[in-house]
């Protein structure tokens, strides 16, 4: 099916498929970064599997239903979802070479991501102070590993965003900076996809059980 479609296009116009020269750098860079994101999903799949296996092993300690505050989780989810939205709109204004709009949307994205992290950090601190730290049970070890790894990714994404905003201010929206922004927005959207798995498997399924 694909081959027929490609054959219908004159060879010199079908770039990146053996005719017409290599694909543009933007396509190559984003595709490579897409492969990295998929490998990140594989990393998280190991942590999800560990959580699914260990979530019942509370060793007499607190269960998820006793520890989780779903109102906070809902606010966290909305923060991340809206930051994904402003990130997408920011990428759009960067493509249209509107640096001022991009910077405003990047600021929204940063604040929403930071709010997510603040809620998560206070949740973790509250659990540890109740004696429900990662050393308490297999359930809590896998919980802190899975949710913590996602939080570390969000932290990395925020640091990366500061670095990119500095590049936009200093260098402007030139092609190399746009390619980096594209990779960053892929990363940020991917973190939101992982969070869908986290709030479904960890918080919602853990709470009603």
């Amino acid at each position: 099916m694909t081959i027929a479609t490609i054959d219908a296009v004159p060879a010199h116009l079908a770039r990146g498929r053996g005719g017409g020269g290599p694909a543009p750098k933007r396509v190559v860079v984003a595709y490579g970064f897409w492969i990295f994101i998929l490998s990140d999903f594989v990393l998280f799949s190991g942590l999800f599997a560990a959580y699914a296996v260990l979530s019942g092993n509370t060793a007499g300690g607190p269960t998820g239903a006793e520890l989780f505050n779903l109102r906070n989780v809902f606010i966290e989810t909305m923060c991340l979802l809206f930051s994904s939205y402003t990130c997408g709109l920011g990428a759009l204004s960067a493509e249209r070479r509107q640096p001022a709009r991009f910077l405003i949307l990047a600021a929204f994205t940063f604040v929403l991501g930071a709010a997510f992290l603040a809620i998560e950090a206070s949740e973790f601190a509250g659990m540890v102070s109740k004696g429900a730290g990662p050393g308490r049970s297999g359930f809590l070890s896998s919980f802190f590993t899975l949710v913590g790894t996602h939080g570390v990714h969000v932290t990395g994404g925020l640091i990366w965003l500061i670095y990119l905003v500095a590049q936009v201010i200093v260098k402007g929206l030139r092609p190399a900076v746009l390619r980096r922004l594209l990779c960053w927005s892929l990363f940020w959207h991917a973190l939101d996809i992982v969070w869908v798995g986290v709030f479904t498997l960890v918080y919602l399924m853990g709470d009603f059980r």
Binding site: L13, R15, P24, W34, V42, A49, T77, H189
Partner: protein
């Protein structure tokens, strides 16, 4: 440039090659659908709207629906020929994720079922 001279590049995830307003609309539509799916998941888990044993299934279905919304509206993955590479890579990633998760759960559940009861005292 007329349509016949268009260069047929592969597309990248995260970029939509449409009208700029359509692009803004697609992000907004994605946001709306994702919020709906999120609220539905929280409602389903906290109420008796679904038959109780069906709740995990409902939650998984809603999660997959929301992930699909994110892939289509935020990452702009499509089914066209210029997305073949991206979709093939995604399919491979999904295969590995599926193998790791179901394989782990299957193997550990099997070990668990065959484990000696903890109450038996083993002489040391």
């Amino acid at each position: 440039m007329d349509g016949h001279d268009r260069v047929f590049d592969d597309r990248t995830p995260g970029v939509e090659h449409e009208e700029l307003t359509a692009n803004f609309l697609s992000y907004t539509a994605g946001l709306g659908l994702a919020i709906l799916a999120t609220i539905a998941s929280f409602v389903v888990s906290q109420t008796n709207l679904l038959w109780a044993p069906g709740i995990p299934v409902g939650l998984v279905v809603l999660a997959f629906a929301q992930i699909g919304v994110h892939l289509v509206f935020f990452l702009h993955l499509g089914s066209g020929p210029d997305h073949t590479n991206n979709i093939l890579a995604l399919a491979f990633g999904v295969l590995i994720v599926f193998l790791v998760i179901t394989g782990s759960i299957w193997i550990i559940a099997n070990l668990h079922a065959n484990m000696m009861p903890m109450s038996v005292n083993i002489p040391r």
